[in-house]
Structures are given as structure tokens and as C-alpha cells.
Point group: C2
């Protein structure tokens, strides 16, 4: 069964670049990728923070947060 | 043709975790992944720096650097 990978972003240029490089390029045999725009879907900020996300763009895979470069601090999205 | 993706690491726990999460899970139809241990292969530090790598673990894809979390600064590997 595919592992769930959630990609959190906020529509910033750094996010869009990371989305093209990673979110759309993870092996579909391995990952079931969900893309969440935290700027538009603020209801999911809490879940992202609980998983350890501090900034976007970031992935949460198996409950661990992986920050890719730096686009925006989560506090800027509240 | 597959895009070349180079994963630079230094054997640290953060690196090993990122390697499992990403380097081994990129779509093989999309990426040709090369894994470089900069602690053991210091001759490649210059090429990594030229591509914009500041810390490991990091990917370089299409000439762009993507830092994933923070394991070690490149200066610690010289």
C-alpha cells in the first residue's frame, strides 16, 4: 500500500518550485501524495503544526516533517 | 530521458532519514538518482557548493539546490 505523503505549501514561488521538483515526482508506486495550500485551507494549519511543520514548503511523511528550503513561516499564514 | 537528481549527504541521522524518505522514493521513471557522501568524497564539495548547496542533506535537480531539514553545514565537512 502506498505511503501517505502530504505536501504543505502556500502558493509562494519557493513552494511552486518544490512542488514541481518533488511533489509531482515522488514514485506513485510508493507514495499517495496530497497537496494542501495552507494559505487557502487554514483549517489544516493545526494538523501541520502538530506534525512539526514550521515553514512551507514541507512534506509530512510517516508523521515526520521535511522542510524543503524556505518559502514562508507558518505564522505568516495565520 | 530521466532527469538527473544528485543527493548530497554526510552520513548524519538527518541525512539517512531524508535518504530513506526521498532519495529512494523518487519516481525512477522521472529521476536518475545519484547519492554522494560528501564526508567521504570531499573532491565533490566544490561542485555541490557551485550548485548552491549550503548544508546537507540536499538535492540538486536541474542545477537547483533543495535543502531538506538541516543535518550539517558544508563547512563542517572540509
Amino acid at each position: 500500500m502506498a505511503t501517505k505523503a502530504i505536501f504543505y505549501h502556500a502558493g509562494c514561488p519557493v513552494c511552486a518550485d518544490a512542488e514541481t521538483a518533488f511533489a509531482k515526482a515522488l514514485d506513485p508506486q510508493v507514495f499517495d501524495v496530497e497537496i494542501v495550500h495552507l494559505g487557502e485551507d487554514k483549517a489544516r494549519l493545526g494538523e501541520a503544526e502538530a506534525a512539526g511543520v514550521k515553514s512551507v514548503p514541507a512534506f509530512v511523511i510517516d508523521g515526520r516533517a521535511y522542510h524543503i528550503n524556505f518559502g514562508a513561516d507558518l505564522s505568516a499564514l495565520k
